[in-house]
Symmetry: C2
Subunit: 304 residues, 2 copies
């Protein structure tokens, strides 16, 4: 008869998983149970604290629906999402770094042509975005699929508005023969992540703010290259050093130039002030081993 006590329980739990058919699942659960138990032992977790944790997780679960994924927000704010992103996207120096995917990507965003305005009615000052997609060798990558999405000047993504019919501030376009692309949108601003729920209360209790520095999201795919999921951040933003989700990598910060009313980069006349930015995305070659995995991997989307 095995006696379960504070010294024996971890090994007893792990032994119970010996029959798991999936070796990888067994490996993950073994490590998870060890860390979970070590956590409880290290801090001598009280029964009251344990129950507060249970209640917190239940609250996170209850606010989560098909529009809001509070568990991703929790993972983001504890740095786990960014760590997983970094672990899975090691690249040669010179390639554009990846950052967190975030919960606001939507499949089947509308398709645009170069020069189009993806704002589609989103609030904000005009922004003219140009860029280029290349390989590490500097060669242009033509016909890359470029998805872009961003918040409006009030800090909300289109999916956060109840009953909005179409997409705003998001779209898909393709790089041209020379690897370049350009589109018009609105100037992204810093914004707080949703903080009216349990994750917001956690941040407050930890003395943390919920703000993210201004950024545009990009997902770029091209045959023969690793998919790149990243942001472009705005230099000078006051939250660059304290992003609530730890997504800032210094290589992703670029100047967003401010312009008075007048001629815009696309040759049109802008009656109001506008901004412009330009960024080169350097894709990593897909190697033969990784190719099989990448072809079957799906984009994970919290709002899908």
């Amino acid at each position: 008869m095995q006696n379960v006590d504070e010294d024996t329980i971890t090994q007893i739990v792990l032994a119970r998983h010996a029959n798991a058919a999936d070796g990888r699942l067994r490996q993950i659960m073994t490590n998870l149970v060890q860390h979970l138990h070590s956590f409880a032992r290290d801090v001598e977790l009280t029964e009251e604290e344990w129950f507060k944790g249970i209640q917190f997780l239940a609250d996170v679960g209850h606010i989560t629906d098909d529009k809001r994924q509070e568990f991703i927000l929790l993972s983001d704010t504890l740095g786990l999402s960014m760590l997983v992103t970094a672990l899975n996207n090691r690249k040669p120096k010179g390639c554009t770094e990846s950052t967190v995917f975030g919960p606001f990507f939507v499949e089947d965003a509308p398709e645009y042509k170069n020069g189009d305005n993806v704002a589609n009615g989103a609030k904000g000052e005009s922004c003219f975005v140009s860029g280029k997609v290349t390989g590490l060798d500097g060669k242009a990558v033509a016909d890359a699929r470029i998805e872009v999405w961003q918040a409006d000047s009030d800090g909300f993504y289109d999916v956060q508005y109840e009953g909005l019919a179409g997409s705003q501030g998001r779209g898909m376009l393709r790089s041209q023969a020379d690897g370049t692309f350009h589109f018009r949108s609105i100037t992204a601003e810093s914004y707080p992540i949703p903080h009216d729920g349990p994750v917001g209360r956690m941040l407050q209790a930890l003395g943390r703010h919920p703000w993210r520095p201004a950024h545009l999201h990009f997902m770029i795919e091209a045959p023969g290259y690793e998919r790149l999921i990243t942001h472009v951040f705005r230099s000078g933003d006051e939250y660059l050093n304290s992003d609530a989700v730890f997504g800032v990598r210094s290589s992703l910060i670029v100047d967003w130039d401010h312009h008075e009313a007048g001629q815009a980069p696309d040759g049109s006349e802008s009656a109001t002030p506008f901004s412009s930015l330009d960024f080169t995305f350097v894709l990593n070659r897909l190697n033969a081993n990784a190719a099989a995995g990448a072809a079957t991997s799906k984009v994970v989307s919290a709002t899908a």
Copy 2:
């Protein structure tokens, strides 16, 4: 400008908590983030696995309501609940050991007198339960408050039945002047924990069964003593060595005697076979330091 990468992120997250007003919260979150990040690093968690984890937690949250607490079930089946119970209930040798509280306790159970039948209509063979409450010195503890709760012969607690009016198989009574108590109930049987949800799917994937060996729950309180939350298990039960929630301690196993129809321990005639069991509960003295905390601690109940 701090650069967030897989090597720096943990320290960057921890530094962000330097301003937490509550030192204990800071300690807990520091340790939790370290273990969470170590877990992801140790197993090289993939983005797909991370997302499966997020979806699993969302599923656990969505099935949780005021009747069902799947997060407690998750904690129970990973051995965390039993570990926390053990860490918080270290006692001198000779005291009755604590075990998991479980999710089926209910406040304000009906009050019974010694000799009453707490089954109150619950399905099952009769069981005559007797016991004694003492201190470590062997002295009787009179007027101890004894809460008992158990599943019926189908393996369900009263709270698991939709629309059941009163309590069944649960009640509160008090020890007599000599510390003894006795009541009638039904014979508990082994039963599976709720396994039609995400935790059940997890157990299946891990090659584990959802069964718990037969047991009665007890919570015993008396002035000057630590509250005791424990089970009494039935010797010979086939699941004693593989309790789905790791709650079995060998000191809590006792013979449940089986009797043919005839005279019952309380002097009455039983027309059907019945069982009987007897257990002595040895309470630990409350020390002066612990007294203040215990007076304010609340019982945590998932069904309250």
